[in-house]
Symmetry: C2
């Protein structure tokens, strides 16, 4: 097995791109990543996407994007793991390069959601849940997270407003990210007044439906210096799974898939949570941020919200999260999100995060989650120099 | 890179399984494959599927199937490449084992199509084509194949009835396959009288919409003898792509993606068409069988139909195809098809194909195609002993 480096990154602004299709968004991110790497040659393309069929009537994105990006003929495939599709594609790209079956691999995550009506997007997103036993009974993703958040508040004695720091932090960080969907500060007051969607989840606990694409270029670490970008090594790449339906889990407040995925990653990287300086986690809802911090070992069960209340998740805190806005404020184009997280982590490790730079960041973690914790893909990245 | 062997195979009968869901079909094939291999331990699961979201409202099949098959926690992901999804999943499983990132990998292809109404299935299948420039203009997959078949007849001077041998051969071979959807002989007369769907494609030129699942277990070739099944080596695994839209190809009658994919496979296996004794090709429509034979080097351009007319595609011919019924008569549950082809090829190479056994078969090829030739995945398999 070979060490693998990320030699190029690219992203589009997250938002409502009514004038661009899936292929155009993907192309924009791909071109930026190849330019950043200083290469045009690619051995294989992995496309992370969840809902192109349901929302735009287009499957077969591997060949479609390869051709549109001027790579007709190249090996290409689409990878799907619900909202974890982006990092799942990166995981497969990593496997190909680490195992020596490809040298330069392009991974792009892309999603186009805003052409659909709101109810259509909600129905499509529910396909990440169990169709027979959850979605089929009318349980949407907001509803699933409302159940989780209510149970968490009940078990650990938190109040609704205790979750505000997650949103306040994400929106504050997004102010300095030109690619973020929202550039609006959130305060404790505006959080308290936000419209309720599924009690206790309000509008400011929820990441937005959005369009976007992000891409990374992988190569063997020994090749990395031939390319333009500051290389960052993939120190770990791991996947853990759990039951898709919430009621099939042993304890709904313990994401065992996330624990498994993180433990596997820590073992590969030979590092634990104490060594991680930045954590791009999957804050699709505030409650998911809390549960992720706990599953990854940054807080004991029930202490994820406490960590946020103590200010430890900000850029100056013990473990900065959502450093460029996170899913909440950068936006959550579902199949692209996992690649955005990694692009932003690379920005941090290269020292290119501008006003949001975490000082001396050398080791960071990105974690992308499908469903309410059923597929969890973790990558640990390390600056090479 | 390590040699990879197929150590277990399993399949469900192809048909209309109204009493079984996606997860039940997948489980049945998985259990059969694990029993055949004599193992329960698996490092990763790759699920090939195209239309679970569109037709059953369920995405996220990786985690869902892993959990239902009793493998909660294992690395799992869904892979999509239109009707090539099954072999695309096998390709990724191969990459993981060959590269040393996993030892025992389970690959399952599954599709559940018959709960949807006919027009729904046709619309869903059109997502393999270009949504903006083909499907969006009303071009279904039958229509695309009708255009190809008419052009072929015009360019090379064939009559409609010249295509009959493909269907007659497939249905004759399916008679002896208990897993096949159809057990009905087709004659030149019944072919001539078949209902026209999109002139010149009639009902007997078209593979059926169906439900089904097939699975294979992979392991390093050096481990193969520890397991129960007669091992078969993967001598080559390759992918080639082309433009998705037919009008973007240089010549619609030349499947450049198939040529690329096959050439890459021949190079890996260090063997050419003359050494291949069985060819499980992608006969979704009669015209696709002809074009596949030509792209893989078994016939010159325009001579694929001639090869069939000369009887060379039967079990006694130069290059037997659709030996267990092919897509036409075994059935075409789209995301499962590529795995069915490989399961059947393994039956041939193990000498377990019963009345349909190709004598002394040691080297065979399976080729799975997404869209009208935009993603082509080729595997060459060799009997180990």
């Amino acid at each position: 097995m070979r060490d693998v480096a990320i030699i190029g990154i690219g992203q589009t602004k997250v938002g409502e791109h009514w004038e661009k299709g899936l292929r155009h968004l993907a192309l924009e991110a791909i071109q930026a990543a190849l330019r950043d790497a200083g290469t045009e040659r690619v051995d294989a393309l992995y496309v992370g996407n969840m809902l192109s069929g349901e929302l735009t009537g287009q499957e077969h994105l591997g060949a479609l994007v390869a051709d549109f990006a001027g790579m007709r003929g190249v090996e290409a495939v689409k990878v799907e793991a619900a909202c974890g599709s982006g990092a799942a594609a990166l995981r497969l790209g990593y496997v190909a390069v680490a195992g020596g079956l490809a040298n330069v691999v392009l991974v792009v995550g892309v999603e186009k959601m805003t052409d659909a009506l709101g109810p259509e997007a909600t129905t499509a997103l529910a396909m990440a849940a169990d169709a027979d036993y959850e979605a089929g009974q009318g349980l949407s993703f907001v509803a699933i997270n409302a159940l989780l958040m209510r149970r968490y508040m009940y078990e650990y004695g938190y109040k609704k407003e205790d979750f505000a720091p997650f949103t306040i932090n994400a929106h504050a960080n997004a102010m300095n990210n030109p690619y973020a969907m929202f550039h609006t500060r959130v305060t404790a007051d505006s959080y308290a007044q936000a419209k309720m969607i599924a009690d206790p989840v309000n509008l400011l606990d929820s990441s937005p439906v959005a369009d976007g694409a992000a891409a990374v270029v992988l190569a063997p670490a020994t090749w990395a210096r031939r390319f333009r970008g500051t290389p960052v090594r993939i120190a770990a790449s791991a996947v853990g799974t759990d039951a898709v339906a919430l009621h099939d889990r042993r304890n709904p407040l313990v994401m065992e898939g996330a624990t498994l995925s993180t433990q596997r990653a820590y073992q590969q990287a030979q590092a634990g949570p104490e060594a991680i300086q930045v954590f791009e986690l999957h804050d699709a809802f505030s409650i998911m941020a809390a549960l992720s911090l706990e599953a990854a070992g940054f807080a004991a069960p029930g202490q994820g919200v406490r960590l946020a209340l103590d200010g430890e998740i900000t850029l100056q805190g013990r473990i900065p999260i959502a450093t460029m806005g996170g899913l909440k404020a950068r936006g959550h184009p579902v199949g692209a999100t996992g690649v955005y997280q990694v692009v932003e982590l690379v920005q941090q490790l290269r020292g290119e995060a501008g006003a949001n730079q975490v000082p001396n960041a050398r080791l960071g973690m990105a974690q992308n989650i499908g469903g309410s914790g059923a597929t969890v893909i973790t990558h640990i990245l390390e600056r090479m120099d």
